[in-house]
């Protein structure tokens, strides 16, 4: 048993804190997120210079080694800082899909991501499937030596500022089959691609993306044809683990700010911290923060596993539990702040918005509990269906 961070992890934590202190104080953040897409291109370059964009990648691809625990430390700080960026989308999800696919194109794109030159959004979710990413109705048909992609993807994060898209499409089987899914790499301004961007309440941006007979060559296929599901599953699990860390960071910050407020704000000649009804509620918040930190370690440790059943069990448990805890902590933080808690100018409400946005990303707490229950019953052998 060892819960101590490595020197490198401490270094990353400090580098995020320095960046936030110098470049991203809350009032400046408010101004940045007011404009689409919610982050500054020059900050993305800074992230590259600080080495953040290389964290999840293997050393042979120019990365830092890919320890999920390094990523955990970084994401926890992003959560504290309410940092808006396409990090999860480009680096964690698309980066992992590229790594799983392998091959020259993929590795040169990874180099581009690490350098901060390329941003890639993954278009995986569809309306009818909700959070089931294997539910793919978007089709890719092979005609005259090219693939023609048609369909609609929803909730594509930071699509408007992405250079490329990775889109999942059905090349065999029926809509909810785990086999028969293929990943394609598409230029985001290719003919037939229409992005319908919108702002998200946590300061970011997303888009519904329509693919109307988008023609790509055979070299646009990432990885093996018909068998992308296991890569999608890995990438979304790894991203989910990273999101638990971000939620944990947001929770601790909301909790700490609430405690500080309760120590200074006076009503009836006493600080709020003197009222036992509020004390016990803040203790509940504190306990949930501690439990969330533990389950983030659980999810992060799970992200290292090759056995997909055990990996999913741990990550699903963490996302289900932390999602609910984070919402509770965020809501209580706003409530205990009173009127100022619901104002734009105070960070506390923005933590609640961020954790609610995360709960709508790659599965909400109920969705992850259903995954967990299926494994508990032993009726859904993900190892078997995922690796066909």
């Amino acid at each position: 048993m060892n819960f101590a961070p490595t020197e490198e992890q401490v270094m990353f934590r400090d580098s995020v804190r320095r960046f936030v202190a110098d470049e991203y104080p809350f009032d400046k953040r408010l101004k940045i997120v007011a404009e689409a897409p919610g982050y500054l291109p020059e900050h993305w370059k800074t992230f590259a210079d600080l080495g953040w964009l290389s964290v999840p990648f293997a050393e042979e691809h120019g990365g830092l080694g890919g320890s999920p625990f390094d990523l955990m430390v970084l994401m926890e700080e992003f959560g504290r800082a309410l940092l808006v960026s396409p990090y999860l989308s480009t680096v964690v999800v698309s980066g992992r899909l590229l790594q799983e696919a392998g091959g020259g194109t993929a590795f040169s794109l990874i180099a581009g991501i690490i350098a901060g030159d390329v941003q890639i959004a993954s278009a995986l979710a569809e309306a009818q499937g909700r959070y089931d990413l294997f539910d793919v109705a978007t089709r890719a048909d092979h005609r005259d030596g090219a693939w023609h992609i048609s369909g609609r993807k929803i909730g594509v994060p930071f699509a408007s500022s992405a250079d490329r898209l990775i889109v999942s499409a059905r090349t065999a089987g029926t809509r909810r089959d785990r086999s028969g899914i293929t990943l394609f790499l598409v230029d985001s301004d290719a003919g037939g691609v229409t992005r319908h961007p919108y702002r998200t309440h946590d300061g970011g941006s997303a888009a519904t993306v329509d693919f109307d007979h988008v023609a790509v060559g055979p070299d646009a296929i990432l990885g093996e044809r018909d068998s992308a599901w296991s890569s999608i599953e890995v990438a979304s699990d790894i991203a989910s683990a990273a999101l638990t860390a971000e939620m944990t960071g947001a929770m601790w910050a909301a909790q700490e700010q609430t405690i500080e407020y309760a120590k200074t704000r006076k009503q009836f000649d006493q600080t709020l911290g003197h009222f036992q009804a509020l004390q016990h509620r803040m203790v509940d918040m504190f306990m949930k923060c501690e439990l969330a930190r533990s389950m983030t370690i659980e999810a992060t440790d799970g992200a290292r596993l090759n056995d997909p059943t055990e990996r999913t069990r741990r990550i699903a448990a963490a996302r289900s539990l932390i999602g609910r805890y984070a919402r509770h902590v965020g809501e209580e933080a706003v409530q205990i702040h009173g009127g100022v808690g619901v104002t734009m100018e105070l960070p506390v409400g923005h933590y609640l918005k961020r954790v609610m946005a995360i709960n709508a990303t790659l599965g909400d707490p109920d969705y992850h509990r259903r995954r967990y229950v299926r494994l508990m019953r032993g009726e859904d052998n993900i190892a078997a269906v995922g690796r066909i």
């Binding site: 048993m1 004390q279 439990l291 533990s294 448990a317 289900s320 229950v373 019953r377």
Partner: protein, 400 residues
């Protein structure tokens, strides 16, 4: 970060498993497997003797007093395997509380006199803390110990005294001075339960078990040599004892065993088209309990194996008791609910019925008894509300 025990600890785990499999008497295992806490005292003594003979009677004591001298990892693994294999809990009053207290504060004579018998189960202890008017506010206790020559003369009453009816000795807090602050003037003493003037009145809990008692002291004479530590410094010892309780009360290992039992149960209980485990609402509630227990387990591990060591930990550990008892109560509630129509059973009226019917009725009776019995856990050892007060003040710094 490493979420694994050392190879050495895992080898030790195998050793513990083999020992329990070979040495745990079946009747003791059967008594523990029903989730109940009230192991008959003869079985408790027998198991303690078995452990003591192996040198495993008191893991937390130093070797020179017959302890096992284990690392924290070894202790954690040992306690986990006891629970998973339905072996009794480690005797809390004698082994986990009184022993370490004597080792820390007792005289050499007191150690020689009490530690060997405590280790092998010859002396079973009870704890005289709470009084009728001193529950959560322990320091307000009033049972008086008045010095007369080489004796203290005790008058008053202790309440909620677990196991007083089969304990051989009591350790407790008594007021030797009431002139100063309430925390001052309290002394820590040990006394023979057969002392003249001492009477034990059973208190029957609402599910029918006899675990707790009220103990009356009517001019009970206790030799001054049985005072532990200085006169008037008992509160320091009491606080030390509370610190020792921080990690046991989460009962993570026991609840793991209880959830495993619950999952086996719901896979066999028919419910409409399938089994109860197929019910989405019920299985979601089991999943919640299991996930919450995992979160607690990892939190306990984080605290125990923190970079600065568990001793650096403050009142954060109070949350282990709060969450541990809450989750345990949830699991026993689910177990009772799982039994459906049999969940209201309190036991058969006659022995004259088919064996399968009797078994269902007995299972319901055990589940209801356990469920109601464990309502006590969020009340005892500092109620969960008191624990929240402690965290609010000592960890969050509120209300200062």
């Amino acid at each position: 970060m490493e979420l694994k025990f050392s190879d050495e600890a895992e080898r030790f785990r195998a050793e513990v498993r083999a020992f329990i499999a070979a040495e745990l008497p079946p009747e003791i295992r059967a008594s523990v497997a029903g989730d109940r806490m009230d192991l008959p005292s003869e079985l408790q003594r027998r198991w303690m003797r078995i452990l003591a003979e192996r040198g495993w009677g008191a893991s937390s004591w130093p070797r020179e007093y017959g302890g096992a001298g284990w690392t924290d990892e070894q202790f954690y693994v040992f306690e986990r395997e006891l629970a998973l294999m339905d072996a009794p809990r480690i005797a809390s009053f004698g082994i986990q509380m009184l022993g370490p207290t004597l080792i820390e504060f007792g005289s050499e004579e007191q150690k020689q006199r009490f530690l060997p018998g405590t280790l092998n189960g010859e002396i079973l202890w009870c704890q005289g803390y709470s009084e009728p008017n001193s529950g959560s506010d322990l320091a307000s206790l009033r049972t008086r110990a008045v010095r007369e020559g080489d004796f203290y003369v005790l008058n008053g009453s202790k309440i909620w005294t677990t196991d007083a009816h089969h304990a051989d000795w009591m350790f407790g807090l008594f007021r030797t001075d009431s002139s100063g602050k309430k925390q001052e003037g309290i002394s820590f003493m040990v006394l023979d339960m057969k002392s003249p003037g001492l009477t034990v009145r059973p208190i029957i809990m609402f599910e029918g078990t006899h675990e707790v008692n009220q103990v009356f002291f009517d001019n009970v004479r206790v030799p001054v040599a049985q005072r532990v530590g200085e006169e008037g410094k008992g509160w320091t010892i009491a606080k030390y004892l509370l610190g020792l309780e921080r990690f046991g009360t989460a009962e993570v290992s026991r609840t793991l065993a209880s959830i495993a039992r619950l999952k086996r149960l719901v896979a066999r209980i028919p419910a409409g088209e399938g089994m109860l485990i197929d019910d989405p609402d019920f299985s979601a509630r089991i999943a919640d309990a299991e996930m919450e227990l995992r979160a607690l387990e990892l939190t306990e591990l984080r605290f125990l194996f923190a970079p600065g060591g568990a001793d650096a930990l403050g009142a954060e550990a109070s949350m282990l008791k709060i969450r541990g008892t809450e989750i345990q109560q949830t699991v026993f509630g689910l177990t009772l609910e799982a039994l459906g129509l049999y969940g209201h059973s309190a036991g058969a009226e006659t022995g004259d019925m088919p064996a399968d019917v009797a078994a269902e009725i007995a299972r319901g009776a055990n589940a209801s008894r356990v469920h109601f019995n464990f309502r006590k856990t969020s009340i005892y050892a500092g109620s969960n509300e008191i624990q929240k007060n402690i965290i609010a003040k000592a960890v969050l710094g509120l209300g200062r």
